[in-house]
Subunit: 457 residues, 2 copies
């Protein structure tokens, strides 16, 4: 049996076992099996189960293992599975997540479902989660969890040790460092656990304290990234406007949020808007979401192509022009998209900002000039070889060269301008670029051909 | 002064100060200024300096601050700046990076430059770096650093404390946990610092030991991600084929590598191949790299458009068809790209694998059918309103509907098939999709029009 067959065979086995245990209602067996699987195996096996089997499987698991499983699935899918659980079980599962993850899940739900689940949760946890939901998911407040190790600045090493013993019994995660707070709850320092190790029990923690910097609950993902770049720590303390400690953002939560944002940008650039699409979603949902984007594009496309209609006489005089219109449109799109990609990348890196549009435009023009010349020359030669008419070659080559310059100018600057106007560059750059470069391209090919018409026929 | 003006003003000030201190040769002043800046401010200010000023600035900094600065810049740019330093200074700077980062930088350089720098480095560090360079950058070995806290399993808590005191004097980073190794150097357990805190000095570390899992030096990024998903720790121990501890991968190094890979995929999909492009690079380099991709595309485009040439008689009989060719080509590209995006996303999530191509195709056809009907109907109506000919509307609408189904079929499956054939889906999906859907689209519009020709004129 080849390696690939063995993998396929193993996947089939896992899937059959999951299905068998689910039909048999064997929650314990499911938990044991799931614990033995890699995250990637789990995800694939779950997605192969029918929707009802998936729901039943989750209903058979205890809250902890159910949360572990759902954490491995794409968020939209995890939310769907929780919403379809019996309400008490759904609340227990949400409680089993850390407070930030619970808040993320609930904020993705219908507000009625979320309210119902919150109503079933332990009031204290529900209160924390409610507070977290109030933050947007792209700021520190939206990523933070409430849980943290913080002590009054008068505490001694042995106070901490006592607390640590207690927490260890409760199997809480062990800290890497702890925070000292003043009477108003503001962080005043951090103590590395390794430093406590080298100190006596009656040492005041404040004597081991190192300066600590916090992030505001309103800090952006980029600000958090800067923070973790400067501090080699698993968590960033989060403070409110009054400087009071309100939570902690884990490094992992930040990286997940950044990866989601980048992925979201990528999907939007490719025309998947209105949220992530997984093929396990209902066909109508997938179709409707994709269509919302396509229908705007077809209108823009018809508008752009209407330029051609104004030049019908020229096209009918030189039918070969019909061949070049899609070439110029496609190639300008390619050149423009390259410029969009570099601008999006430089925006992410923070190298350019909206106000740099003029400089970016100039840097694009220089590349557009070279590439336009090269592509135009190539198309001229191909045209001459095909039609034997050097002037027709010159016309389409010149049109492509000029339109390449236009395309990179628009592609390079539009993401910056959209950002300045507070529009989303990932969603709008593509359609704006295509529409304008298509119109210009058709106008250039057909306009130049009209001027040269007497010599073309 | 508005907020934006204030920011612009501050940026100009920073830039002028940097330039002033650089011309004055004031290394200490530069270090103080750079320490006071956010990473994003630094990056923008550096990119505004001329190439010579940038080189001089780095030459004025001590190795440590120089490494801190270069770490904030995109890698390609950092490498360039190091290569342009005097050789001894370049070696000192590389030494100031952690071993994995140093290896990354050197592996991006011309091999002559890298050898020269290695020759100037402390032989021990150079040896470590050489070993790291031998690993590919997308496996654990390529991301790991040599530095780690590991002790023989017979060691006691006080052995560790002695070592910790020593290392703290050397300002080494404090550990969160330490590893126990057997006589052959294989990791046999991990001890949490917090557990040592609760133990006596003469406690054997092995009595506090918890099971530890390691990753192989050949582990992929996805395997590392699974590891960090399961273990809340800053570093993963890396072992060689014999199970011996050889290094440690930091969580941050993994996330950076994943972000780079995703970003690279995105850039490749948009036609930026052969490495990252920054607009600070020389125009000729940028032009050449972009052109390498464009020139393949223009050939594919000409081949696709040549389908139109076979139907010149039909086009000349119904000139309006020239308007619809670019519309069908663009819209099919849009639909196909959506399917590519979902497949790339599901590949990343591990939900689909190359062998699922048939299932994916079927899930795309169902969406393609609905969206094809909707788009086709829209185009039919627009055509009818413009030309007053219902049959022409039916022809172009039907062509677009059919081609939408073809486009999503190809867009959904091509990334999987390319992956099966060990080609890079990010680079090749776009051109393959565009070429095939263009050919099919032109053939459908013009073929159907030819069949209906007697009733169209």
């Amino acid at each position: 049996m080849s390696d690939r067959d063995a993998v396929v065979e193993r996947e089939r086995e896992v899937w059959e076992k999951l299905r068998g245990l689910t039909s048999a209602g064997d929650g314990q067996g499911l938990q044991t099996l799931l614990e033995s699987l890699e995250a990637s195996e789990t995800v694939r096996a779950i997605f192969r189960l029918g929707a009802d089997d998936q729901r039943n499987l989750v209903s058979l698991l205890s809250p902890g293992p159910a949360a572990d499983l759902l954490e491995d699935l794409p968020e939209a899918h995890a939310v769907d599975l929780i919403e379809r659980q019996e309400i008490g079980h759904a609340a227990d599962i949400v409680e089993a997540f850390s407070s930030d993850q619970g808040a993320d899940l609930l904020s993705e739900m219908d507000s009625d479902d979320a309210e119902a689940i919150l109503g079933e949760m332990i009031p204290e946890i529900a209160g924390e989660v409610r507070e977290l939901i109030s933050y947007s998911t792209d700021v520190a407040g939206g990523l933070m969890e409430i849980e943290h190790y913080a002590y009054p600045k008068a505490a001694t090493a042995s106070d901490f040790l006592g607390d640590l013993r207690q927490r260890r019994k409760e199997r809480a995660e062990l800290p890497q460092r702890l925070l000292l707070i003043d009477v108003r709850g503001r962080p005043v320092g951090a103590v590395e656990i390794a430093d406590i190790l080298l100190a006596d029990d009656d040492t005041r923690l404040s004597s081991l304290s190192r300066p600590v910097s916090s992030v505001l609950a309103t800090a952006s993902l980029d600000e958090l990234d800067d923070y973790f770049d400067r501090h080699e720590t698993l968590g960033a303390p989060v403070v409110d406007d009054n400087g009071r400690l309100v939570g902690r953002v884990r490094r992992r939560a930040l990286y997940d949020a950044i990866a989601d944002r980048d992925q979201d940008d990528y999907l939007k650039l490719q025309g998947i808007v209105g949220g992530e699409e997984l093929r396990a979603m209902p066909v109508l949902t997938r179709s409707r979401r994709r269509l919302s984007w396509l229908s705007i594009n077809i209108v823009l496309n018809i508008i752009a192509a209407s330029v051609i209609a104004f030049f019908q006489d020229t096209v009918s005089a030189v039918i070969a022009l019909a061949v070049f219109l899609p070439i110029v449109s496609d190639m300008s799109g390619c050149s423009g998209n390259q410029a969009v990609a570099v601008s999006m990348r430089e925006l992410t890196l923070g190298i350019v900002q909206p106000r740099d549009a003029l400089r970016v435009w100039w840097q694009e023009v220089s590349v557009g000039l070279l590439n336009g010349l090269a592509l135009g020359l190539l198309l001229s030669i191909a045209t001459f070889l095909w039609q034997g008419n050097p002037l027709l070659g010159a016309v389409v080559g010149l049109a492509l060269a000029l339109n390449t310059i236009i395309a990179v100018s628009i592609g390079g600057t539009v993401p910056l301008l959209l950002k300045r106007w507070h529009a989303d560059p990932a969603v709008a750059s593509g359609p704006v670029l295509t529409t304008i470069t298509d119109m210009c391209g058709f106008f250039l090919v057909l306009g130049l051909a009209t001027l040269a018409l007497p010599w073309l026929i």
